[in-house]
């Protein structure tokens, strides 16, 4: 099974060959490195830019204004704050020109903690991204969803932000990418760049099949009736593990992987909360004016009389950064025990 980094690479290859993607670019995105997380190795349209995030976002806007279909990468989302007004501008091009222009561009960037990235390689971006009208925002938690969402993003006529949970980039999925060889060592030999001299290396691409995940659709990862858990990105597999463990204690959690943050699948969330009466939103961005707070507000306004307990949010602590030391990272963003306890407490909460 491909890991998520390979799945993104396969999707971009598919998009170059079949969907008109013209440019995959960013810092160290082209050869020889193919991206610091290897998501762009061997791609024929990949190229390296100056170390200049404003230039990267600006070039993506310009390329898409000129009818190209760019996929730009910001090496770590921590460096995207540098270009925030360009993101605002990109989200507004269609609206501010009253529908005259549109930007078919994808911006991909690794997000979140989990690799001991310290203060400037651990930021999340979901809360900031969801403050930018005019963007579609996706965040996969499995390789197959990453493949399908990237393929959809590359067919969009609007700017799409593709958030890559960096802690999950090396994880393998349980569902194969359509067309990948069954043996993961074989896949690696075909598409992973070798160590050392890569100047003569070319990937051998598997015969990939079209597959897409629609933007705006979440999925129920685990059905349950006692409590709804809504998550995405790095915390999604933690929620899954927690729910599985809690089932042994008789707590029956329903788990939703949101996958798209804008537009998001309110119908899916709503129908689950109507069933369970309890909801926990889990993400790792800082908790003040967090995207989960928006979901709580909507839950209260629209589903108040279905609720058996207050809706809860488990998110990152509102501190300036995620410290390097193990204790600091563990204390700053939700870990498995935090998720387990939060679900347990909510499931058992009584008036």
């Amino acid at each position: 099974m491909a890991n998520m980094a390979q799945a993104i690479r396969l999707a971009l290859h598919y998009a170059e060959e079949n969907l008109g993607v013209t440019d995959v670019f960013g810092e160290d995105v082209g050869p020889p490195l193919g991206g610091v997380f290897t998501t762009t190795q061997g791609l024929k349209t990949a190229w390296n830019t100056p170390l200049d995030e404003r230039g990267i976002v600006g070039a993506a806007i310009g390329l898409s204004l000129a009818g190209q279909r760019p996929v730009a990468e910001i090496q770590f989302c921590d460096y995207l704050f540098n270009a925030i007004d360009l993101l605002k501008l990109a989200g507004g091009v269609h609206w501010s020109s009253n529908g005259d222009w549109n930007l078919p561009m994808v911006l991909k960037t690794p997000v979140g903690s989990g690799i001991r990235g310290a203060i400037y390689h651990s930021h999340s971006f979901d809360t900031t991204a969801t403050h930018l009208p005019g963007w579609k925002i996706v965040i996969p938690s499995t390789p197959l969803d990453a493949y399908g969402l990237m393929i959809t993003a590359c067919q969009e006529d609007n700017p799409v932000m593709f958030l890559e949970p960096k802690a999950l980039l090396r994880l393998r999925g349980e569902e194969p990418i359509p067309g990948e060889p069954g043996d993961e060592r074989k896949l690696s030999k075909m598409i992973d760049a070798p160590l050392g001299d890569r100047s003569k290396w070319k990937p051998t691409w598997p015969d990939l099949q079209p597959y897409s995940v629609p933007i705006g659709k979440g999925k129920v990862v685990r059905e349950g009736s006692g409590v709804t858990v809504v998550s995405y990105g790095r915390t999604q597999p933690l929620c899954f593990k927690a729910a599985a463990a809690l089932a042994e204690d008789g707590i029956d959690a329903e788990l939703i992987d949101l996958r798209s943050l804008w537009p998001y699948d309110w119908e899916l969330i709503k129908s689950s909360i109507e069933k369970t009466g309890r909801v926990l939103f889990v993400n790792e961005d800082t908790e003040v004016t967090n995207f989960g707070e928006h979901l709580i507000r909507r839950t209260i306004e629209e589903l108040f009389y279905h609720l058996l307990a207050p809706p809860r949010l488990l998110a990152g602590k509102f501190v300036p950064g995620i410290g390097l030391a193990d204790n600091l990272e563990m204390a700053s963003v939700p870990q498995l025990p935090d998720v387990t306890e939060a679900i347990r407490a909510l499931a058992r909460e009584q008036p």
């Binding site: 230039g55 600006g58 310009g62 204004l65 507004g92 501010s96 020109s97 009253n98 005259d100 005019g134």
Partner: protein
């Protein structure tokens, strides 16, 4: 009167000093008419602001001598074979020179639903016209310096002679985006067909450039990037026409960048926020050019007065027409957030 440019090929009687004229007589007259049209438009926009027919005015009186030749020399059309313009908000004269009717600007000033550039959403001077590769103007004066390399990369790859033109003011060159533009335009082996323009009016709202910019000429900033550059008198339409012709020919042919700094005036201050009052102590390119045209026997005062009267009447009539046009509806805020598949 817009047809004067087409008179270029018509046989004409040789008049006094004809052989010595720096540009074709019909072209000189056409430039004059467009400069006057643009000036009268801007002055009408200021009057609309004063009369409450608009919330805010910003524009380009004082830049007509440069902006008219720019519009005349652009390769107008849609797509990679034509020029892309990443303009700033002082370029109504460029739009008129491209052939735009002035009523569009009046509509944007009045923020009507009929505003062809933003449907009443944006300030005056924030043009957008996909049909002519005019990308949406936005208020931050630096962002387009970061966007322009993108269209130029696509044009470099495409070939042909279409180029990217980006314009901004001197104050905006203090932003990092200006350095981005210089750097991305001059990557070795990947030089871009981009004409980088700075119209230098020596002001950033109330701050004199001399107090915040250390370089003697902004065009000097091209040197470390091996970009060709020049500083010109943007108050002289003939010099502007010739220098733009030369710079554009270089960018079109060599597919390499050029930085052109045009020294211009700011005749009504930064915007309505500073009163939009006439500034008497800066060179007025329309007056200077009219004196030259008269001295060289191209146009008489009476002929020029006729041009002024014509456009004053035309634009006043257009303003009357716009006055009663409706605003966008409240519900329209939800339109065009996302593009739909066609």
């Amino acid at each position: 009167m817009k047809d004067l440019a087409q008179a270029v090929n018509r046989p004409q009687l040789v008049k006094r000093g004809e052989a010595a004229l720096p540009l074709d007589r019909a072209l000189l007259m056409h430039i004059h008419e467009l400069m006057v049209e643009a000036r009268i438009l801007e002055e009408r926009l200021i009057r609309m602001y004063r009369q409450g027919h608009g919330f805010f005015w910003i524009g380009g009186p004082g830049e007509e001598a440069f902006n008219v030749p720019l519009g005349l020399l652009m390769k107008k059309g849609q797509g990679l074979d034509y020029d892309y313009l990443h303009a700033h908000y002082r370029q109504s004269a460029t739009m008129l020179a491209l052939g735009e009717e002035p009523i569009g600007a009046l509509r944007q000033m009045k923020n009507t639903a009929t505003d062809p550039y933003s449907g009443g959403r944006n300030f005056i001077g924030h043009f957008s016209k996909r049909q002519w590769n005019i990308v949406p103007v936005s208020s931050p004066i630096e962002v387009h310096y970061s966007m322009a390399p993108g269209t130029a990369i696509a044009q470099k790859r495409h070939g042909g002679d279409g180029i990217t033109i980006v314009t901004g003011g001197d104050a905006g060159t203090a932003e990092g985006d200006f350095a981005t533009c210089l750097n991305w335009s001059s990557r070795p082996g990947n030089e871009l067909p981009i004409l980088i323009i700075v119209t230098n009016n020596k002001w950033g709202i109330s701050t004199p450039a001399s107090s915040v910019q250390g370089c003697k000429n902004i065009s000097d900033r091209a040197k470390p990037y091996n970009i060709r550059s020049k500083t010109i008198d943007g108050n002289d339409p003939i010099a502007s026409y010739r220098e733009l012709t030369e710079a554009m020919a270089y960018v079109r042919r060599e597919r390499k960048p050029f930085l052109l700094e045009a020294m211009v005036s700011r005749l009504y201050g930064h915007s309505s926020a500073s009163g939009a009052n006439f500034v008497p102590d800066e060179p007025d390119c329309v007056k200077l050019y009219e004196a030259w045209l008269e001295d060289n026997g191209v146009l008489s005062r009476a002929q020029m007065d006729e041009v002024h009267a014509h456009w004053t009447a035309q634009i006043a009539e257009a303003a009357r027409q716009v006055r009663d046009e409706p605003q966008p509806s409240r519900e329209s805020i939800w339109e065009h957030i996302f593009a739909e598949k066609k």
